[in-house]
């Protein structure tokens, strides 16, 4: 899987309450959730991004609530990949389970600047900042998780009888 796009960048501890505030959790409609994605931290989020763009975060991205609405809102906003220094564990699971691509890579998350053009080859674990020419190698996912990702998430993995 390959992702190409420009980046939007945020700091450490981006929590699920700012990714999708609870006042909008009276619905689970992905489009409605996406409309409010990141609004408490960045009102211009939707003006900055185009479909396929890449979100870069710092440490502990997605901390807080278990709401799957958070990765759903990011995915439905058109973000193709989230690169962070580290992810909070429930967000990490949820992203894999719903098929939102994520990569943990502290060096890339540190070096990549907002607005840089980035290419990521997830199978090879290679991230390239096209704007600066820097490349970053990441650890591949364990096979078990790779199978869920390849299937397109836990629902498809379950349907295909890959796990369970």
């Amino acid at each position: 899987m390959k992702c190409t796009g420009k980046t939007v960048k945020y700091g450490d501890n981006v929590d699920t309450d700012v990714i999708i505030p609870a006042r909008y959790l009276n619905t689970s409609d992905p489009r409605e959730l996406a409309a409010h994605c990141m609004e408490d931290i960045d009102k211009s989020f939707h003006d900055k991004i185009k479909p396929g763009d890449i979100l870069v975060g710092g440490e502990n991205f997605g901390c807080g609530s278990s709401r799957e609405h958070a990765p759903i809102a990011i995915k439905e906003s058109g973000i193709s990949l989230v690169i962070a220094k580290s992810f909070a564990r429930i967000f990490y699971r949820n992203a894999i389970n719903i098929g939102l691509a994520i990569v943990e890579c502290p060096q890339a998350a540190e070096a990549i600047r907002e607005g840089d053009a980035v290419e990521a080859d997830l199978d090879a674990g290679l991230i390239t900042d096209v704007t600066t020419g820097q490349s970053f190698q990441t650890e591949p996912f364990p096979a078990f998780i790779q199978n869920i990702i390849s299937a397109g998430g836990l629902v498809n993995a379950a349907k295909a009888g890959i796990i369970g």
Binding site: A22, N26, T27, S66, I90, V155, A158
Partner: protein, 421 residues
């Protein structure tokens, strides 16, 4: 290979003799639960997976607690979706208005999770039941759907941090102060992906409500789960609440830990987490003059009877400061009733507080106490992120019930000692 307590429980539920940190395993689940916000998504994913019946209806619990009694039409639709699913799947443990309580208070009270269980819940504070010596952790809705369908969940076996507690809590200091102290010490990602295991004579000195509060906020340090060693306090609790057999697991003496911290409970002071992260802690003595507009006493963290008792001790016969709104929310119907019988509800109302039926409401900025721009709230809840309780420019200060009640009386962040002297 020696194992931590969490690893032992996971190994037993994966049908393995031993497991080690980092290993990916599939575990049998004793309880799968969700609430009115997360369950509708899980139900949608369950249907997408092509399943018609849950694997074991006796292990699936749905609790309507976040936006109930329904705060608006959309919230009502979400509850209806859960209600219809519960009826169709013939779920015994569906908790609706009149029977419900805040999930993490209700589940131990009803004995739905017991010592030695592996439990998942589509709510991050599912880690609460570690207080009972169970492995429990929060997951998302798709994991809940998969759990309902197969009775199983995948886990990466966590390593652990050990907290050896000594001494005993001083007066007006509670489990909340302990966990805030720990989060202040290790940070909001200090236990990321790991277990937090509590042991030592100080751990055994803590009441079950204090243990529930401590484990409840393990997620605020990024932990996968928090867990207390099983002792007489646990067994006494289970004697009253467990309706099925339970198993006691104990960490191996020589189990490996990523870090070991020793904390003397006697040295703890009432602690407050300043905006906008639970790790921004100060003792109440260092808080300075922070004027407040609202106090919330309740939530899955501090809505238990003991919490109400601690608030009552301070509010009884006193008045809430002018211009401060105080919202008190006993966490379950049973706790509400016990507060009524103990005379707390009268004390609270006479002091100038409102008392609400159980709901998560204000904790996550849902309803029942939303903050305006620039307003400050001292709250016994668990998160003080930007916009958590309302306007993005409002502030939440996390504290114990005693500190929150004292702050309500004085109109600023204050210790119970100051009010009670």
């Amino acid at each position: 290979m020696p194992m931590t307590m969490s690893q032992k429980i996971l190994a037993a539920h994966a049908g393995l003799d031993s497991v080690e940190a980092g290993q990916l395993i599939l575990c049998k689940l004793d309880r799968i639960h969700g609430n009115d916000i997360t369950s509708p998504v899980a139900i949608r994913e369950f249907k997408k997976m092509g399943f018609e019946k849950v694997a074991d209806p006796d292990t699936v619990t749905l609790i309507m607690d976040h936006f109930v009694p329904n705060k608006d039409i959309k919230a009502a639709q979400q509850c209806k979706c859960c209600r219809d699913f519960a009826a169709q799947q013939e779920l015994e443990s569906f908790y609706d208005v009149g029977r419900m309580g805040i999930e993490h208070a209700l589940i131990p009270e009803e004995g739905l999770v017991v010592t030695g269980d592996v439990a998942i819940g589509a709510d991050s504070h599912t880690c609460t039941y570690g207080a009972l010596g169970a492995f429990s952790t929060g997951v998302g809705s798709t994991d809940m759907a998969f759990g309902m369908a197969t009775g199983k969940a995948w886990f990466k076996v966590p390593s652990a941090i050990k907290f050896v507690l000594t001494g005993a809590l001083p007066k007006y200091v509670s489990g909340k102060d302990l966990i805030l102290h720990i989060i202040g010490m290790i940070g909001v990602d200090g236990a990321r992906y790991k277990s937090m295991e509590f042991t030592g004579p100080g751990a055994h000195s803590l009441s079950m409500p204090d243990r529930l509060t401590v484990c409840n906020m393990a997620i605020e340090a990024g932990a996968k789960n928090g867990i207390f060693e099983v002792d007489d306090v646990t067994l006494a609790y289970e004697k009253e609440h467990a309706k099925r057999e339970f198993r006691v697991f104990k960490a191996d003496e020589d189990a490996a830990y990523d870090a070991v911290y020793e904390i003397n409970l006697s040295e703890l002071r009432p602690t407050v987490a300043f905006p906008h992260l639970p790790e921004n802690t100060k003792t109440v003595d260092e808080a300075g003059e922070v004027k407040i507009d609202q106090v919330v006493i309740g939530s899955c963290t501090n809505g238990l009877f003991k919490d109400m008792q601690e608030a009552d001790q301070i509010l009884k016969g006193r008045k809430v400061a002018k211009n401060v709104r105080v919202i008190i929310i006993p966490a379950t119907q049973d706790i509400y009733l016990k507060c009524l019988e103990a005379g707390f509800i009268r004390d609270f109302i006479e002091a100038g507080c409102v008392v609400s039926t159980p709901t998560c409401g204000p904790c996550l900025g849902g309803y029942m106490g939303i903050l305006a721009e620039g307003e400050r709230c001292v709250s016994t809840t668990n998160r003080n992120f930007v916009g958590r309780m309302g306007h993005v420019d409002s502030e939440v200060y996390l504290a114990s019930p005693a500190t929150a009640a004292a702050s309500a009386v004085l109109g600023r962040i204050a210790s119970a000692e100051e009010v009670m002297k």
